[in-house]
Assembly symmetry: C2
Homo-oligomer: 196 residues x 2
DNA sequence: ACGAACATACACCGATCGGTTTATTCGATC
DNA sequence: GATCGAATAAACCGATCGGTGTATGTTCGT
């Protein structure tokens, strides 16, 4: 056997990596070769390359979120949990093989917002915003909706900065997020004060 | 004659638009056809498609900055001048033909940070940061360097949000920038206080 | 009226694009 | 061991990729 994973799994995994590293314009020949799957098989597992793009992005989503978001049983404060996302992004962005948020990158390359891949991208950006919002609610923030969107914008802005390879000023995203939380009155004591 | 502009100008203008709207993977045939210039002419005006990418981006730069940045004889406060950039971005992002900051988009698509187009992109993002920095210095901000980078991040984050077509919450970028300026003590009275 | 310079359209190059088809091989079932 | 389904490699499709070569104007200065 080729490997433990099914053809479909190998295909989606290779697609995630290649589409992220080389862009969605990478050819299906190269993709199938990397996955060790014949083109014939690919086209009976998926209707089109566009479907592979969307499905591989959807498959990457949970994995990517697991990398960034703190685990649910991480008992730190909402503030610390939110800032940890920016800290991890900061670490990842320092790598040479960092090409930005895969969802934003894909949506940027696809151009068409109705492309199934763009729809998936939109969904997962919303998931990040939802995480921020939930933490902000826990912290008792005043306007969690707006604040969550703002944090997502900071996240994507930090990512964009890494993409264009501006001179690395590490921690500036974390610092910015902290400033915004501070301005919104979200502090570490906040949760405790609320709980008491 | 075809038009007043030279072949080179028509080529760069068409390239700016097509590369932005359809991505840099648009073919040179389509580009030349749109510009009304023969492929032969293009290849004796430019060494390669990559060079056209870089030059067209460099040509778009001043134009794009003129759209966003306030004119030098706009006598509003640094705070107002900075916020006006986010207001204009907010307007532009509402258009259906908005595909994000062209510099970030191009760098995202090119992947390779050493591609001449990526170098140009980096340069123009720095120009935006420099504008912010200059205004912050005028306003007497404490850490203009970090703050300027943070504002650039907010700018690109707002852009990314528009690219993925998240539900439009207009003005949230402006609001975020205002929050950060407020936290940094940059207020409208600041300049006057300094001048007095 | 002439030749030099240039810009054009267009064929051409090998490679690759997304996608389909064919022929072959392999492994499981009976 | 015969049979069938599934997976494979590879040819094939028309179109397009970035880039070049050629042959036909068109516009000049002289």
């Amino acid at each position: 056997m080729k490997s433990q994973a099914t053809s479909r799994e190998r295909l989606l995994e290779a697609a995630s990596e290649l589409f992220y590293r080389d862009g969605v314009s990478i050819g299906v020949d190269a993709l199938c070769k990397a996955a060790g799957v014949s083109k014939k098989s690919m086209y009976q597992l998926f209707r089109s390359k566009d479907e592979v793009i969307a499905e591989s992005l959807a498959a990457r989503g949970p994995y990517y979120n697991a990398l960034l978001l703190p685990s649910p049983d991480d008992e730190r404060s909402p503030r610390a949990r939110i800032l940890s996302v920016f800290e991890r992004e900061d670490e990842r962005a320092a790598d040479d093989d960092f090409f930005g948020c895969p969802f934003v990158s894909t949506a940027t390359e696809l151009k068409n917002p109705e492309h199934p891949g763009s729809v998936v991208a939109r969904h997962f950006k919303q998931a990040l915003t939802d995480f921020f919002r939930a933490e902000l609610v826990r912290a008792g923030a005043e306007d969690p909706d707006t604040l969550a969107v703002q944090l997502t914008m900071i996240f994507d802005g930090a990512s964009a900065r890494a993409v264009v390879r501006a001179q690395p000023l590490r921690g500036v995203g974390v610092q910015l997020a902290a400033t915004v939380l501070e301005a919104a009155g979200v502090r570490d004591e906040e949760l405790a004060a609320h709980a008491n």
